[in-house]
């Protein structure tokens, strides 16, 4: 039988990355801006001031433009699990499908029903029913994020399932373990709060643009006040959950942590790299050269982050490949070669189980399969080097995300301290406007760390990409990749054009001066 073409894996990954990254341009703004506009409509209902209604309606207009793009790019992602990752869909569909279906039933219908009331219902339902519809739209979007992040967290840290050799797939045995896995909870809080940050940055950025132009100043100052409080609150949660997420990665995905830190040789009392430049072209799978041109470290911080102990041991890439170090449970880590060997034994035992003609043969094969199943996925790998993700991409993305996260806290706190005086600080206004794209950069960088850092796994330790794909011609996937690239880019340009015009036109509030 013809083996899998490695370029098929690469193109399938590229297509998924492309569609996911496009989708993630729009989703965080939906989640963040949605809350801001809902707060503003709440102020309208509580105070009865028409000003807040107009303010909420302006942000709603931008929300709608962005929402449409989120929907357009999102439908592809759901079906791509089938079109491009069909083996994955069978191998773990029993677990992974459930969150997607629940997302549809619980969240998408809520979103799509109430968004229609939100846009078309101003004169058709009562004020309070309209406000409820606005909140339910954003709650629906947030519940949707919960379920898709449960699914993603499960891929990072698979729990609550057992392998069934008769159906040749993993089957769910504990729904609560999947739906409320601590990794999923942290991931949800981190992702949603970072989306709130992005929404808040967008609102303060657009508002500062009005201040720079000397237009809609009352609107701008009111929007900044709401968004800066909300943004500061969200940025602090993001920082806290980011720390928890780091701890989860240290526990369940140590290779991702090593790549994010550029840590080749691990040890105790490890420092956290605050900033650094990696040596271009360095081989991260072997050798002993220094891999940094420059780095600034915070002593002991990585050990503390990973183990909550300043002297804690953190394995580097070499240690993870060669094994031999002591794991937290007291056992000794296996080498990558050994894990691959055991994985091949597991796969071979599965073949024997399927071919067995007597109960004794089946039982013997099953015993071997069970004993070696923890390394099943490693059996598909050809060399230990495949276990090392792209270190530069993970390393730099991590730093971009963390540094920008810190900057956003300072930004929101600064805006709150300045209050009305921000109208006099043109440079600050300009800086805030220029911050808008940085929010997207931080958000995308976060996903790069999460997804590139866990390569080569579709499901951590269980199923590598090479065993998860659909059997297609490479040319088909290449063609669809370029179709999606062209279409999404075209629509993005259109969206930016519409957003730009809508912002230039401004809100329909009465006041245009400070």
């Amino acid at each position: 039988m013809e083996p899998i073409d490695s370029s098929l894996v690469d193109w399938s990954r590229a297509q998924f990355a492309l569609t996911a990254m496009y989708h993630w341009l729009f989703v965080p703004l939906t989640l963040g801006l949605g809350v801001v506009m809902a707060i503003m409509e709440t102020l309208y209902v509580r105070t009865g001031r028409e000003f807040w209604k107009r303010t909420a309606q302006f942000w709603m207009k931008l929300f709608g433009i962005n929402f449409a793009m989120g929907v357009a790019t999102g439908i592809i992602l759901e079906f791509e699990f089938g079109t491009n990752w069909s083996n994955y869909s069978w191998f773990v569909g029993d677990i992974f499908g459930a969150p997607l279906a629940i997302e549809g039933i619980l969240a998408f219908f809520m979103e799509s029903t109430f968004i229609a009331v939100m846009y078309f219902g101003w004169n058709k339902v009562s004020k309070r029913a309209h406000l409820a519809s606005t909140w339910l739209t954003i709650i629906g979007a947030t519940i949707s994020a919960w379920w898709i992040l449960v699914a993603n967290a499960w891929m990072q840290h698979p729990v609550g399932m057992e392998f069934n050799p008769d159906t040749v797939r993993n089957e769910m045995v504990d729904f609560a373990a999947v739906a409320f896995s601590p990794v999923a909870v942290v991931k949800f809080c981190h992702t949603v709060s970072s989306s709130w940050v992005l929404g808040a940055v967008f609102v303060v950025g657009v508002s500062c643009w009005y201040l720079l132009c000397g237009r809609h100043c009352e609107f701008a100052l009111s929007s900044i006040r709401v968004a800066a409080w909300f943004g500061l609150f969200a940025a602090l949660i993001t920082a806290h959950t980011g720390h928890q997420s780091g701890r989860d990665i240290a526990l369940y995905q140590p290779m991702k942590l090593a790549a994010a830190e550029g840590l080749y040789e691990g040890g105790t009392e490890q420092g956290l790299v605050l900033g650094g430049i990696l040596r271009p072209g360095a081989d991260w799978t072997a050798g002993s050269d220094d891999r940094f041109l420059l780095k600034v470290e915070l002593p002991y911080a990585l050990s503390y982050l990973a183990t909550h102990d300043l002297q804690g041991y953190v394995p580097g890439i070499r240690n993870l490949l060669e094994g031999g170090y002591k794991l937290p449970d007291g056992s000794v880590a296996l080498s990558a070669e050994e894990m691959m060997k055991r994985g091949r034994v597991a796969i071979d035992a599965l073949a024997k189980y399927r071919a067995a003609s007597t109960p004794e043969e089946k039982a013997a094969a099953l015993a071997v399969l069970r004993a070696n199943f923890p390394w099943f996925g490693y059996g598909y790998l050809k060399s230990p080097g495949e276990l090392v993700p792209s270190v530069p991409l993970t390393f730099y993305s991590f730093r971009i995300m963390v540094m920008l996260g810190g900057y956003f806290i300072v930004l929101f706190a600064g805006l709150l301290l300045l209050g009305q005086r921000v109208t006099r600080w043109k440079l600050v206004q300009l800086a805030v406007v220029l911050t808008i794209p940085l929010a997207w950069l931080a958000s995308q960088a976060g996903w790069v760390v999460a997804e590139v850092g866990r390569q080569p796994w579709a499901i951590q330790g269980l199923l590598p990409n090479v065993a998860a794909i659909s059997r297609l011609d490479v040319s088909s996937v290449q063609t669809t990749f370029y179709i999606f690239l062209a279409l999404f880019t075209l629509l993005l340009v259109a969206e930016l054009g519409i957003m730009g015009k809508a912002i230039a036109a401004g809100p329909e509030t009465d006041s245009t001066s400070a």
């Binding site: 899998i4 357009a72 699990f81 069978w90 039933i105 799509s112 040749v168 091949r344």
Partner: protein
């Protein structure tokens, strides 16, 4: 009937119901395909687009949930059909991608492509969406070119368990007249439903008269295609399997036998057809509520057909390349635990239907006027 068998039947019912609701809600697509046919002036076109624009997301969500529910309950179908019939599904998805932005973007300033382009997108989605979905569903009765071999997981060099035999990855389904006839029936049904919906929600006599006239033409073509398809379907051989062994074989008049073996399903089909006919007749006389006869009628018809595809020991996704690879609700479902869990979640569906009904009523209480269409944009 044990727990697993019962839940497989239950989930096939739910997936079929979602599919049936999707076809009903595709009146939105039918409406889009008639923008220029019914709307002779810009004002009328805006009114038509406002009417479907309030509902498109519901159709879209039903499609996405249909996919999600299929994935959760019958993952082998998701894996086999989407991964194999690649091009059909990609084209269908692209049709929906361009729809998703078009309502919002079409009249906005700075939209780069211009209003007409977005309306052409809506037209494309309106025609290709129902046509291709109908054609793809046609393969539930005529078969597709795939092979499933679960043992492949134990072959590290090529562990993919299902693959398409032909080079066209699903496009070949459009060359089967029976599939195409079903696709045309779905398209024409959505146009009939759209005419009826517009009849009920427009406050413009000229537009309503256009809808009434168009309804006669669309109804005639729909009946021609659908009844031809239905007769051929009843007389065709189908894909049956033995419940114990799972062995798949061809059975003459299988779908006719299914209707005879399941009188409840036959009754659904009959009532559904009568309701659709009643709705059409009401529409000919300009009745505003005719949509609410034909709509539920179409749900019952599609539900009955899909139940015939999967219930009564029928292979719902037959393989013409390897008969024993055919998918049945027994060999392609999720585990008992997952189906049970999902069943608990499904109990929330009545609440979802209730709030959808509230929102629908709230937005459609008053007929759409030209002034409203102008102000919404």
């Amino acid at each position: 009937m044990n727990d697993l068998t019962f839940l497989q039947q239950y989930w096939w019912f739910l997936v079929s119901l979602l599919g049936a609701l999707l076809v009903f809600l595709m009146f939105v697509q039918g409406g889009q395909s008639l923008i220029w046919t019914l709307g002779r002036t810009e004002e009328q076109r805006r009114m038509l687009l406002l009417a479907t624009g309030r509902k498109w997301e519901l159709t879209f969500t039903t499609l996405v949930t249909f996919g999600g529910a299929f994935f959760a309950s019958f993952p082998l179908f998701y894996s086999t059909s989407f991964g194999g019939a690649y091009w059909v599904w990609v084209i269908i998805l692209l049709c929906f991608v361009i729809q998703a932005v078009s309502y919002e973007f079409q009249l906005r300033r700075g939209n780069v492509l211009g209003t007409t382009t977005y309306r052409l997108f809506l037209l494309l989605n309106g025609i290709l969406g129902p046509l291709l979905i109908g054609t793809a569903v046609g393969t539930f009765f005529t078969g597709a070119e795939f092979v499933v071999n679960k043992a492949a997981v134990a072959s590290p060099a090529m562990p993919v368990i299902s693959y398409w035999v032909g080079p066209w990855h699903g496009l070949e389904a459009a060359l089967v007249p029976q599939n195409l006839m079903l696709g045309m029936s779905v398209l024409l049904l959505t146009r009939v439903l759209a005419c009826l919906y517009f009849l009920g929600c427009m406050d413009d006599e000229t537009l309503r008269e256009n809808c009434r006239r168009r309804l006669r033409i669309e109804s005639g073509f729909f009946l021609l295609f659908f009844l031809t398809w239905l007769v051929r379907w009843l007389l065709s051989a189908g894909f049956a399997y033995e419940p114990g062994s799972g062995f798949v074989y061809m059975e003459t008049y299988k779908y006719l036998h299914n209707l005879l073996a399941m009188p409840g399903v036959a009754a659904l089909l009959l009532i559904g057809v009568l309701l659709v006919l009643g709705g059409m007749a009401g529409g000919f006389y300009g009745r505003r509520r005719a949509f609410w006869l034909a709509g539920p009628g179409s749900v019952l018809v599609v539900l009955a057909l899909l139940l015939c595809a999967g219930w009564n020991n029928t292979a719902y996704y037959p393989s013409v390349a390897s008969l024993q690879s055919s998918l049945t609700i027994a060999n392609s479902s999720s585990s008992l635990f997952t189906l049970k869990t999902m069943t608990i979640v499904s109990f929330i569906i009545p609440a979802v239907l209730a709030y959808i009904a509230w929102a629908w009523r709230a937005l459609d209480r008053d007929p759409i006027t030209a002034e409203e269409a102008e102000s919404e944009h």
